[in-house]
């Protein structure tokens, strides 16, 4: 890993990784086994979804499935299958990064 870890935008690390899934129960079983945590139930109104959250070291993993037809996760799951959907960073000034500059990645400073 590179030694250069300082960034002009103030980012210090990864905050939350949101993973789109279609079977929350299975992901809960997998990650509960390997993290020795039960996982916390979550709702994500911003994604019209719900799922389970695991905190692993300094990072948060949200496994979220759509709960309504308006969820953007439906289209994502249809085209990509279960896969990472978005991530936030710690540090810096809060706000979403321009998706044209991130080359398609949904990234935001939290």
């Amino acid at each position: 890993m590179p030694r250069e870890r300082s960034h002009a935008n103030g980012v210090t690390g990864v905050g939350t990784l949101t993973v789109a899934v279609d079977d929350v129960a299975r992901l809960r079983r997998w990650y509960a086994a390997v993290t020795k945590q039960p996982g916390a139930d979550i709702t994500r109104p911003d994604l019209a979804g719900a799922g389970v959250r695991f905190v692993v070291g300094p990072h948060t993993l949200d496994f979220v499935a759509p709960t309504s037809a308006s969820s953007p996760l439906l289209a994502w799951l249809d085209t990509r299958g279960p896969s990472p959907y978005a991530a936030t960073f710690t540090g810096g000034r809060a706000g979403a990064l321009d998706p044209a500059k991130t080359h398609g990645a949904r990234l935001a400073l939290a």
């Binding site: 890993m1 210090t12 390997v34 990072h59 990509r80 896969s83 990472p84 810096g92 398609g104």
Partner: protein, 155 residues
């Protein structure tokens, strides 16, 4: 035991353009290298919390690579890797939980300075989830890591 996110993988069509754009966003981006035999090369963005971003592109078409298809659908976030301090133990736990973790696969990357980095991958048999064990000369404290890509249920 899992230690946290090791890195996030962002697939891009044009690595030079992505490197420039992420620098414009205020990130310090450094060249990575070429992954021998699998057609990819990368740039890296490291953070103080120990995680990093991998910007990755293909220097030749590789429709057999699991990141090729999502790149054709727009790229962006395609994968992630988790650190573990005991990959063999976590592999046993994952298998017991129903994840079909495959056999080790040798991988390597050559940096621009000529240094070669090697690691071993373990992937989900259905190629929809995988786990990686790596040992990097640039990060001797990281004795092992595992990658969990799209966690598609197959068990």
């Amino acid at each position: 035991m899992l230690q946290g996110i090791d890195h996030l993988v962002i697939a891009v069509r044009d690595l030079d353009a992505a490197t420039k754009d992420y620098r414009d966003l205020g990130f310090t981006v450094v060249p990575g290298g070429r992954h021998t035999g699998i057609g990819t090369y990368n740039s890296l963005i490291a953070f103080r919390d120990g995680a990093y971003l991998e910007l990755i592109a293909f220097y030749e078409p590789r429709d057999d690579h699991r990141w090729w298809a999502p790149l054709q659908k727009g790229g962006g976030l395609v994968d992630y890797c988790l650190q573990t301090d005991d990959l063999p133990a976590d592999t046993r736990v994952l298998r017991a939980a129903g994840i079909d973790v495959g056999e080790p696969e040798q991988r390597d990357r050559k940096r621009a300075d000529g240094k070669e980095i090697r690691w071993v991958s373990r992937c989900h048999a259905a190629r929809t989830a995988g786990w990686r064990h790596s040992s990097s000369p640039t990060r001797p404290d990281a004795t092992s890591a595992c990658r969990a890509s799209a966690a598609t249920p197959t068990a």
